[in-house]
Point group: D4
Chain length 232, copies 8
Amino acid sequence: MRVGSFARVDVGRPRRTGVPEVILAEGKRPDQVVELLQALHDDGQGALVSRPGPEHTRALLYARAGGLPIRFRASGRVIELRGKLPRVRGSGRVAILTAGTADIPIAEEARAILEAVGVGVVAEFDVGVAGIHRLFRVLRRTERLHPRVYLVAAGREGALPTVVAGLVRAPVVGIPTSTGYGRGAGGAAALGAMLQSCAPVAVVNIDGGVSAALFAIHLLSAGRPRSSGKPI
Amino acid sequence: MRVGSFARVDVGRPRRTGVPEVILAEGKRPDQVVELLQALHDDGQGALVSRPGPEHTRALLYARAGGLPIRFRASGRVIELRGKLPRVRGSGRVAILTAGTADIPIAEEARAILEAVGVGVVAEFDVGVAGIHRLFRVLRRTERLHPRVYLVAAGREGALPTVVAGLVRAPVVGIPTSTGYGRGAGGAAALGAMLQSCAPVAVVNIDGGVSAALFAIHLLSAGRPRSSGKPI
Amino acid sequence: MRVGSFARVDVGRPRRTGVPEVILAEGKRPDQVVELLQALHDDGQGALVSRPGPEHTRALLYARAGGLPIRFRASGRVIELRGKLPRVRGSGRVAILTAGTADIPIAEEARAILEAVGVGVVAEFDVGVAGIHRLFRVLRRTERLHPRVYLVAAGREGALPTVVAGLVRAPVVGIPTSTGYGRGAGGAAALGAMLQSCAPVAVVNIDGGVSAALFAIHLLSAGRPRSSGKPI
Amino acid sequence: MRVGSFARVDVGRPRRTGVPEVILAEGKRPDQVVELLQALHDDGQGALVSRPGPEHTRALLYARAGGLPIRFRASGRVIELRGKLPRVRGSGRVAILTAGTADIPIAEEARAILEAVGVGVVAEFDVGVAGIHRLFRVLRRTERLHPRVYLVAAGREGALPTVVAGLVRAPVVGIPTSTGYGRGAGGAAALGAMLQSCAPVAVVNIDGGVSAALFAIHLLSAGRPRSSGKPI
Amino acid sequence: MRVGSFARVDVGRPRRTGVPEVILAEGKRPDQVVELLQALHDDGQGALVSRPGPEHTRALLYARAGGLPIRFRASGRVIELRGKLPRVRGSGRVAILTAGTADIPIAEEARAILEAVGVGVVAEFDVGVAGIHRLFRVLRRTERLHPRVYLVAAGREGALPTVVAGLVRAPVVGIPTSTGYGRGAGGAAALGAMLQSCAPVAVVNIDGGVSAALFAIHLLSAGRPRSSGKPI
Amino acid sequence: MRVGSFARVDVGRPRRTGVPEVILAEGKRPDQVVELLQALHDDGQGALVSRPGPEHTRALLYARAGGLPIRFRASGRVIELRGKLPRVRGSGRVAILTAGTADIPIAEEARAILEAVGVGVVAEFDVGVAGIHRLFRVLRRTERLHPRVYLVAAGREGALPTVVAGLVRAPVVGIPTSTGYGRGAGGAAALGAMLQSCAPVAVVNIDGGVSAALFAIHLLSAGRPRSSGKPI
Amino acid sequence: MRVGSFARVDVGRPRRTGVPEVILAEGKRPDQVVELLQALHDDGQGALVSRPGPEHTRALLYARAGGLPIRFRASGRVIELRGKLPRVRGSGRVAILTAGTADIPIAEEARAILEAVGVGVVAEFDVGVAGIHRLFRVLRRTERLHPRVYLVAAGREGALPTVVAGLVRAPVVGIPTSTGYGRGAGGAAALGAMLQSCAPVAVVNIDGGVSAALFAIHLLSAGRPRSSGKPI
Amino acid sequence: MRVGSFARVDVGRPRRTGVPEVILAEGKRPDQVVELLQALHDDGQGALVSRPGPEHTRALLYARAGGLPIRFRASGRVIELRGKLPRVRGSGRVAILTAGTADIPIAEEARAILEAVGVGVVAEFDVGVAGIHRLFRVLRRTERLHPRVYLVAAGREGALPTVVAGLVRAPVVGIPTSTGYGRGAGGAAALGAMLQSCAPVAVVNIDGGVSAALFAIHLLSAGRPRSSGKPI
């Protein structure tokens, strides 16, 4: 679906892959984001918007006042265009952990995406490794719920995903966050540590809460036949 | 379990996490690797050895001649100590793709680990993006098998996982490989591209075939109660 | 031609190389840019200004009010001093593609430069690789016009130039753009991927829309005798 | 065309893009390279092999003794499988320059590829910038031949492409070479300088003589209808 | 000499090394800079202040109004406390060149320092390498003055010092400047190129106009006995 | 003390700082190392040699055969010249931990230095974080001995020092080791993680077992008056 | 102790390790910091807050007006919640040095933490290495006090810790500071130099004044039995 | 002067700049180096060869046996073709210092170049900063000779040039050397520290002994009229 001269939306993807349309606001003009959502809405589609800046938020508030069915999730970091969104069927929960308090906004981004498509989330925050005994109690609780995947956000030295992956049954996806200062700041040290993890951890980019959530949706959708959507 | 003064094996992990013991030979002395395997064998355990150098291989050939039940898999890049290994139960296949011919050894490492614990693997090699139409035929074939996860190895510009993740239902784990030359050599460009992927891809370290396979085993084992193994 | 004590303009270059004078505003004081344009105008020359900041734009608006024949192109990112500019003679079109919506401003920069010297441009935006089938339709259309060169702007994982170069007849110049976040942000991952491309791609610097356009003008002008301009 | 389980050759590419099949030997086993060439030969195709190591060369010498029609070009850095190769039709010469003596092997790689498809090459070596007056004489000579593109190889500070691009009519493709020592060694400084060039230069990867040559072939082939080869 | 609890001034250095006291304002609080100058003034010393921010400038304007004998040089980037400053005796001129217009402020910084201690400066701006013939005329003029050292500021690809060092008799000190964009921005590419220069160039840090000037003062003062100042 | 024209030994340092003379063999010619030791021996001094290559070891074996009183410690990675070495007086033990088996050689380097000056060492190896419960038992044992400092060597993700520093009373010095592969290899990820540690960890350079040991000797010697050795 | 859903405080740590609770404000919302302090206060605990931004300071001023017993230390860079804090018993002083004036704020951070738990501090500022004789006088004075550890903050070339560690008896902890410009700015050069130090120096992260202070508290507390606090 | 098809020698440079021809062997084939020297010899020129590998040395020994007047200097790291070399006239000494023993080979490279053109050199080795008092005695001695420039080689933390530049009258050129290990190895930390030096130091590339020597020759030759050699 072409929108103006500036965008082509791959409307078959949700049916093909089970993953909702997520529009990255960063780098797009506010009027482009609104026009995109309007076009999707006119087509009956739902969608999600990530990383809106204040100017996107303002434009979308106007659009909502003008009738576009928009909902702000997770402290406004994820915005939902109500409409047809893929539903993740069946059971299967996702556990989201953070090492510190500063990692919570990224974890909330992931949670918002997951809840928008109907996935059950269990979240525990600030369970970091400098006081490692706190972690055991938390993991005992989450393991009882047999989550299908752990999304573990950590900044600074980024050790939490490694420790978790040595203790639980489900796969661990590490999300390095851009906390910290000095050398290794901006998430670089955390990313490096997760890639070097001596336990099996897969990693998304720094602050990649949205990517981690979409990966989890793929994971929960896999093994089922595709509801088509053409290619391939 | 302590082995000499140089190692402690976490014998509960296989039962706890469903993942087999994998001993990284790189960085260990050949006699240490042999002593480790002997101790595990005496305890009735099986295990896998990754990244053996020629000197490890030689030491293990001697040990095999001396009765240690060892099997060389995947052109010798993964070595199996026969014995008790966790089995991944139930259905669920893993698809392994490579972008080029040079990525095959890393893919074979992953395949060897997966097959050692009974996972069904479907592999397709040299399906890279400069001649993108070749990919469609391959994916049509693999999608019919409803794999639970794709492990996609690519070096150079590392674009294949992104393209695959836009077309299939299962989650895609990217494995950057250390091919290429000049700037971005050694897998750096491929890793960067996979982390920046505009489709949801999770990544393991460069040449991380073993990590990707263990992540896949976690993924196939999740959602099932732990067969204990104590902590947590 | 000396301008004040701060600049020397190589007025022979347009005739020598076929390429128009482009003044990089970034790093120059607004009054210096105006003085430069005035001197060129007094000499009968035309010129282009790239990367003007708001303070340059303001100064140039004043100058235009004062009679300097200035034209704002491409949402103001390229400014033209009307006057004698080299003309690219003969046929020969340039195709400009972008992977995403966020890459459009850089593509527009290139288009503005090209159109200022009379080159025909065909542009298609947001044809990125995560939904690769969208690309085929676009390329079929552009290939029918036999472009002499493709300028392909892409950020994030930067895979589009590689895919295009495997499918078309004309040479592909990759323009990495400074989109994306986390590791590889600012265009670093895209640049790395394009340099590692397994299809033949030549690359300009990150956000180098102007360089790519000038390179294309060289390309369209080549094979013709120089209209002198002295050295060499 | 599938070769064993390890390769898929895109046999339509030469007709589609005008560019010959170039097999990168680096990273492939010698027997894989031989098997690839044999399969292409059986199909009537010609091809080129780049970056052969001593073990590839040895295997190919055997294969030649066994009847495979192989020719060693450019001090053995490019190997040609005689057979059907695309021909670049019409006039149009390529100028190849190097800044120093150490850059010559990379320039020879480019020349070998170009000559294999019938392109006329004019080469001048060791015309670097520390003694800049030497350059003028050289450029006066090459400009008289109206080359369609300049391929300019330079290591160390990598300034030659910039200087050339300010003086000639044809487009300049910079090839950074991995000469030099200390900081910026391995071609990093030269690559950085070419990307930052204040004259319009497009760049290939470090030591990318083959890429530059293939880019030049694209350039010489452009503007002509494709002789098909299916997609797109 | 101790100033408050926050500074110790090495008052012997000017006599010992011939170099004036230069106080780097950046990183110091405005009140600390004023207190330092006041203490030096009370002691009869002169001094220079580099890299003042707007808040330092404001504080120093107040101080001047209060009687501190301050002089703003070079568009305010260097501030002089009038008083006893070392004088460079004898002949010996310094040539300062810049590649572009954007490099001028850094060159002016060097000029201000040199002129404050009585060194004769000859400056030529915007003589960069993309249009190399412009350089010859300039150098012919400066060489006639037999400068003792060339300070050559260049950003982007940083090639000018290399070209100059191949043509002149005096030593060339390269000053990379933080111009440019994309990869190698902030002066990184220019610094790399100067370090890799195939002509003998010594380099100061990016934007190190002050360091280059002080190095030149050392150079002009050398060979003369020290006027003591104790250690060593 | 001057040795030949190539070395000056600071013979006062041991008395001044309490730290033994350690000669880094790496970068010195074998004959220089032997001559240094001979000169020290003639002066009645003892010393330690670190990072000997095979050629240094060979030369020192000859020297020992010739009467120089040399002792090989820690699998030959530290060599002791018997003679006057500072003794660390009083109680105070040092705990040395490693995360993995591959980190042991670096830990042994530290142990050899410490034991040479009479420090009591308690060492525990392979107690890494992927199976974190193994660590508790170990730390309970070492804490009972009230060590004055922990030296904790870890490669890969380098998380062990952080976890230890959250649990024990003594200061933790992290030693990143050059294990691991892919991005962050060579100890870079471990170093980054330790610097970003959210528990208070001080760090030495990668593979800096000797530095860590000397730092520990300083720590054990502090608070006592200097036995002079002149400056300061 | 859980605080809201966003934090878990490890209240046992002070007793276990002797180190006070330090809350990093950076990355936390102001209301979260206040809620944390309130909860700790309600529990009778004291704590310290580091790196408060203006918005945290404002929120804490309100909270203080509302009765929370808060004290601003060290120009407001460290904030103390009065209450139960661990006391470092016995003698033992810490020496804090800075190379320049710009490093003082980081040194003050360390001093504030140390004084809050009752440690005696001796501080000397601006004793850097370009005028090395100034250092001797300072060290002679501090050595007479037999400090247990030196914390040495330095930016730019970061040489001071190396020089000090060659002269004194106590261990030296280097604190690189984020001063300087050009290459190596932001503390990178200083960190690199300290890690490469040829004297035994342990290092904390750039601007890690708080980490250095906590490390020193560990150091002064070591050798004493733990006052429990449970794990381990 | 053209040599074969592979080299152009700028025979005017010695007269123009006062600097001898130095041929970098690294990157050239041994037969090319011999052919170059033969051609220069036939023309009556002298020259120097730097960084010869064993294969160059072997070829040159053969050439010498065949009558080419070659002399090996500085442990064979610099080779002299006897013949016409520029002479540096007048007084003016160069002081060369090294921080450690491992830096001596680089210092010897510089010395060999300088002595070949008749410059007086005073050298002092192993005067590094960890034991700073040793330096004073050395500098007192060298300062008495009024050197015109100091070349100071240092690896590891690279602090020596900074300390020297704060104490002497002549300019200081830092030569970072590729000693050290871990982060900052290969001379990176030393280079960074010298660029960040808070005393005025100009820097050449890592291991740039030859560049430093040529820079010194420029310095000693400056201020004199050029003996022509044409351009400029």
